[in-house]
């Protein structure tokens, strides 16, 4: 029997709204990518029938549009929580404005990406590199909402999509908007592949329970890390 005895404490990292946001977002992205890809390249599995009897493609589009609304408002909730939530969910984590954030980004690249050194990463929430990547995904979320609702505005009478009607003339026409929307979809797929892998990786290496932390909200953090976090001298939003 192998036993580890590392002094750990439990830290509530992800509050309930963050967890709900995460899983709603995950389901939305899954649904949006599947329906979106289908809209872009519909399979032709029906032949020799009449339009009168079917509506499956309309349904796929309907699911895409409804999910898009959920995705959008979920995104807004997360932005709000970036100003209202705990220190790990605050907006300043995601934008590397401080020197120590860039220093941590370099460390993370050396330790976790290239694996050329082996050091403890002190961050309790996201590390600075992860935060930066999330910030980029937020920008992709924003662009995806702009282009998506921009295209949708032409076929909607609703108030919300019309706030985005300017996007189409701004980009020069629906052709360009659709192309950008389609390219960005691949950004989501790419992010998902790496994101899911890295969750496995961190849980495996750091053994802080990062996977289940997105369910329960708590992470196991080494006592010395917590101590350093509480006594940090550098004025830095990150630990």
């Amino acid at each position: 029997m192998r036993i580890r005895s590392v002094p750990m404490r439990e830290v509530q990292v992800w509050e309930l709204p963050v967890r709900i946001y995460h899983w709603v977002n995950a389901l939305c992205i899954l649904s949006l990518v599947i329906t979106g890809y289908t809209i872009g390249s519909p399979p032709a599995f029906m032949k020799g029938t009449e339009a009168y009897f079917n509506y499956w493609f309309g349904t796929v589009r309907f699911i895409h549009f409804v999910t898009a609304f959920v995705f959008f408002f979920n995104f807004l909730v997360r932005i709000y929580w970036g100003f209202a939530g705990n220190e790990f969910s605050r907006w300043y984590n995601f934008i590397p404005l401080k020197r120590c954030q860039w220093k941590e980004i370099l460390t993370v690249i050396k330790v976790d990406v290239l694996q050329i050194t082996n050091r403890q990463i002190d961050s309790i929430g996201h590390n600075s590199l992860a935060s930066l990547i999330y910030f980029i995904t937020f920008l992709i979320f924003l662009l995806q909402c702009l282009t998506g609702f921009g295209m949708y505005s032409a076929m909607s009478k609703a108030f919300l999509p019309h706030l985005f009607a300017w996007v189409v003339p701004f980009l020069g026409g629906d052709i360009h908007v659709r192309q950008l929307h389609h390219i960005l979809m691949w950004g989501f797929i790419l992010f998902s592949i790496i994101h899911i892998y890295l969750v496995f990786y961190h849980d495996y290496i750091e053994r802080r329970g990062v996977t289940s932390s997105m369910i329960g909200g708590w992470k196991y953090i080494e006592e010395d890390v917590i101590l350093r976090h509480e006594n940090r001298t550098e004025e830095c939003p990150k630990n």
């Binding site: 590392v6 029906m46 020799g48 509506y55 701004f170 052709i175 790419l190 290496i205 010395d224």
Partner: protein, 370 residues
């Protein structure tokens, strides 16, 4: 030039068009412009009483297909009245005058109707070197700027004048630009299409004459009455789209049954025009009705967003027929490969750590401690 300016109606009667036909024309126009019933009366009154519009019509870098389209307008009044009269002022292709007389006609309009005449433009304007398009020894840009200065409004006919069309397609050797990018200070109506639908062109002229102001425009300067809906939204094959019934090849069963041309590269879903409603050649047909996908000729950059027969545009710089999907799959697979490599590396490291750990049962230090 005649001293008394005849109205459209007087010109029409003079050309043997009956009052009944004239009223029919006004009614059709009102319907196309989306006016309520009272609008018919307004159009009738305007065409009966107002003198015709003084128009200068320029041809720059273009193929004259806008003019060709215009003279095939479904109602004879458009062709015989609007165009005949326009040509009297200045229309390089159709006017009888040439040389000095033509220049005179052009100057007379500018001198006689300052602030009243409409400048209509077919074609894009070269900016790389203005000499690419010269008329009478002066460049298109010079002529246009001079004419626009005292005009009432500018009508940009077709994709060339509205968005640059084929001349502005990559690599755009002449630096071709649409009208609204080279002039300022005057309203520009972009009547899109390659060419625009003749009846749409007539509708714009009638609107200008009847209401004395430019029609309501969308974000890209196109009259909303004709360009507010996508070809896709007014397509008679739309039911097949919603049902997921697609043509897979031009000679397949689906093509015979008139399924949706979406997968054949139809740009209807990204193109704003009235083809599905007003149609072409006296309302006979339009491309999709003839079994051909829409190529999106009423949209900016439609040449550069080909191929015409593929749903997704190719991405410049990645070779012919490289779509976002092909690149996406490649990048996605590289990510998977990278992640797998990383996992292997991680495991080698981890196993080394475990191998170096003290015996089972004993307490071990945090292996990651500095």
């Amino acid at each position: 030039m005649e001293n008394k300016q005849l109205s459209f109606y007087e010109e029409a009667r003079g050309n043997g068009i009956s009052r009944k036909e004239f009223l029919k024309f006004c009614t059709i126009m009102a319907a196309w412009l989306g006016l309520e019933t009272s609008g018919v009366g307004q159009i009738v009154k305007a065409l009966e009483t107002k003198p015709r519009l003084p128009v200068i019509w320029f041809h720059f870098q273009e193929c004259t297909c806008c003019s060709e389209s215009f003279i095939r307008a479904s109602h004879p009044i458009v062709a015989s009245i609007v165009l005949d009269k326009i040509s009297l002022d200045y229309q390089e292709t159709l006017m009888a005058a040439s040389g000095v007389q033509a220049e005179d006609a052009y100057k007379t309009v500018m001198a006689k109707f300052p602030g009243e005449y409409i400048v209509m433009v077919e074609g894009s304007i070269p900016t790389e070197n203005e000499a690419y398009c010269c008329i009478g020894g002066r460049s298109a840009l010079q002529i246009l700027k001079e004419a626009v200065a005292n005009s009432k409004a500018v009508v940009a006919w077709g994709n060339c004048a509205s968005a640059g069309c084929v001349q502005a397609a990559s690599p755009n050797p002449t630096g071709a630009k649409p009208v609204h990018k080279v002039i300022s200070g005057k309203p520009v109506i972009n009547v899109q299409g390659c060419p625009p639908i003749a009846d749409v062109m007539a509708g714009v002229v009638v609107h200008l004459l009847t209401f004395d102001r430019i029609p309501q425009l969308d974000g890209l300067g196109r009259p909303k009455a004709f360009y507010s809906r996508r070809v896709h939204d007014t397509c008679y094959r739309r039911a097949n789209f919603d049902a997921g019934l697609f043509v897979e090849a031009f000679d397949d069963e689906g093509a015979k049954r008139g399924y949706c041309l979406y997968k054949m590269g139809c740009k209807g879903p990204v193109t704003y025009n009235s083809c599905g409603i007003i149609k072409w050649n006296d309302g006979i047909s339009y491309p999709i009705q003839s079994g051909h996908p829409c190529i999106g000729c009423a949209e900016e950059g439609f040449w550069d967003n080909g191929p015409f027969y593929k749903h997704l545009p190719q991405i410049a710089g990645f070779g012919i027929e490289t779509t976002a999907d092909k690149i996406g799959v490649a990048v996605g697979l590289s990510a998977l490969a990278g992640v797998t490599g990383h996992a292997v590396l991680t495991n080698i490291r981890k196993h080394r750590e475990i191998a170096n750990a003290p015996e089972a049962g004993s307490e071990i230090e945090n292996p990651k401690e500095k």
